[in-house]
């Protein structure tokens, strides 16, 4: 997306003295800039013919990874314009082990986002504690009727497939917390396994 800026030279030399200029040289420079731009490759993206090359964090549409959703309703409550609709019911799950207690579980019945109201602030995605909501770069979901812009869970689940893998971390960045935690556990485990051996010998 970034476009190479045509070479602008400042009117002064680095030492601050104004450049000696022949009259009309500024005009000629202007002409040179436009001519140089003409010979360069254009930056136009021919969208309907070619898909645009969007950056990975593009806020196109919100996808729902519904397997992760626990119907905690945080997203619906945080949404500034109340465009997320969630219906659910409770189900009792039979005890995992015989003689155990029955568990109750939230089952998602409806998850819909009204994209005619959504302002793409991304608060729902930020707030979701279970990583069930994601930004997708998909943007071609225009409808001819405003009511059709309320998209239901199946549509939102479909958009989940268009969510790109998270971009690679910058070199030298702190490692992700999950990996750090996992490694810490693994090290602890390894240490725990090594200790008894030392004791044995």
């Amino acid at each position: 997306m970034s476009r190479p800026s045509p070479g602008h030279r400042p009117a002064t030399t680095p030492s601050g003295r104004p450049r000696l200029s022949i009259p009309g040289s500024g005009l000629a420079k202007g002409l040179a800039v436009t001519l140089r731009t003409m010979t360069k490759k254009t930056v136009t993206e021919q969208y309907p013919d070619a898909q645009p090359d969007l950056p990975p964090r593009t806020r196109g549409v919100i996808g729902l990874f519904e397997e992760n959703c626990t119907v905690c309703m945080l997203c619906a409550r945080e949404c500034p314009d109340w465009c997320i609709y969630i219906d659910s019911h409770k189900e009792t799950v039979p005890p995992a082990a015989p003689g155990g207690r029955e568990r109750s579980r939230n089952v998602l019945d409806r998850f819909a986002i009204d994209f005619s109201l959504c302002m793409y602030c991304g608060i729902c995605i930020e707030v979701c504690p279970f990583d069930a909501l994601f930004w997708s770069p998909e943007f071609e979901y225009a409808e001819t009727d405003i009511r059709d812009l309320t998209h239901e869970r199946d549509k939102l689940r479909e958009w989940m497939w268009t969510v790109p893998a998270p971009p690679a971390l910058d070199p030298g960045a702190e490692e992700p917390k999950e990996i750090a935690a996992a490694r810490k556990t693994a090290e602890k485990l390894a240490a725990a396994q090594a200790e008894p051996k030392e004791g044995e010998s």
């Binding site: 476009r3 005009l27 002409l31 800039v33 436009t34 731009t37 360069k40 254009t42 930056v43 136009t44």
Partner: protein, 322 residues
């Protein structure tokens, strides 16, 4: 009878040139301007790189409703586009593209005066439009048009007179016959002044203060829609063709070129005209619009003295070489 056929044939050719060349210049402007701004320009109409964009525009204009404002001076409002457009058609008659007798629409004895006179008439169309629209912006546009014409007509005439002096004739084919290659450096100041003044008279950017769309909403043409507006636009592009053709034949030697003197002279004329048309577009893309006072200042304090100096130089050289 044969004569009548010949005349009809010539008129037909001129008419076709009149209808196609401005469109070619317009399309080139679309594409060149786009690429100079890092864009692609029209890509769809007609299939290949949007070559039919202006045809499609024409069809669109023709379909639009023809609106005349209630407060307007109806007749004059409707007549103005024709007054703006027809002079350029007439000027095309007098521009020769080749050395043979058949390569000019009509040989006119006082050709230089003819073309300049008729081009000046075209501005009346803008004035009529500006006054008859009953719109303040249009009126401002008309005023600026008139002021600009008065300022730039003089340098244009003076430089044309300089060439006529050099050639000793005011007939355009006569000037071309007398042309020698060293006229190019001799008349270069005149050529630049003529070209710049012509641009200003056509109200092309950077001299487009009278139609400045961002401040007076296209000036005299604010109230126009549909076909009449299209005619004004066509007049602008026909004006570019005419100005480039005139500069070519008056200052750049028309059909004279380093090679291919026989039979291929018309190629030289067209080539030079095309290069000048490209420069017109190039200037439009590159420079910002001049303010109204800068416009007047440029003409009266720079172009007029320069053209007078050119006349003096022409006179001196003319006397010396005789």
């Amino acid at each position: 009878m044969n004569d009548a056929l010949d005349v009809a044939w010539r008129l037909l050719i001129i008419f076709v040139v009149f209808l196609t060349f401005p469109l070619i210049v317009g399309q080139t402007e679309h594409k060149v301007m786009a690429h100079m701004q890092g864009r692609l320009g029209p890509m769809y109409a007609g299939g290949f790189h949007g070559w039919a964009q202006l045809v499609a525009d024409g069809v669109k204009f023709a379909q639009k409703e023809d609106v005349v404002p209630a407060g307007a001076d109806r007749r004059i409002f409707q007549l103005a586009p024709a007054v703006a457009l027809l002079p350029y058609l007439l000027v095309l008659l007098a521009i020769p593209i080749g050395p043979s007798k058949g390569a000019v629409g009509e040989v006119i004895d006082a050709g230089v005066f003819f073309v300049l006179a008729v081009m000046g008439v075209g501005v009346l169309g803008s004035l009529m439009a500006g006054w008859a629209s009953a719109n303040k912006f249009s009126l401002l546009g008309g005023l600026r048009t008139a002021a600009q014409l008065l300022a730039y007509e003089l340098p244009m005439l003076l430089t044309a007179a300089s060439v006529a002096m050099a050639a000793g004739t005011v007939s355009i084919p006569g000037i071309l016959d007398a042309f020698r290659w060293w006229w190019l450096p001799w008349q270069i100041v005149g050529a630049i002044v003529f070209f710049v003044a012509g641009l200003a008279e056509l109200q092309r950017p950077p001299f487009d203060m009278p139609v400045a769309d961002s401040e007076i909403i296209f000036g005299a043409y604010t109230e126009y829609t549909g076909l009449r507006f299209a005619l004004f636009l066509l007049a602008e592009y026909a004006g570019i063709v005419v100005l480039c053709g005139l500069t070519t034949v008056l200052f750049l030697g028309g059909w004279h070129g380093p090679w291919g003197a026989d039979g291929l002279g018309w190629v030289w004329t067209l080539l030079k005209t095309a290069v000048l048309a490209f420069i017109v577009i190039w200037l439009r893309v590159t420079y910002p619009r001049l303010r109204e006072d800068q416009l007047q200042k440029l003409s009266w304090t720079l172009l007029v003295p320069l053209s007078l100096a050119q006349i003096a130089l022409t006179g001196i050289v003319k006397v010396v070489i005789q």
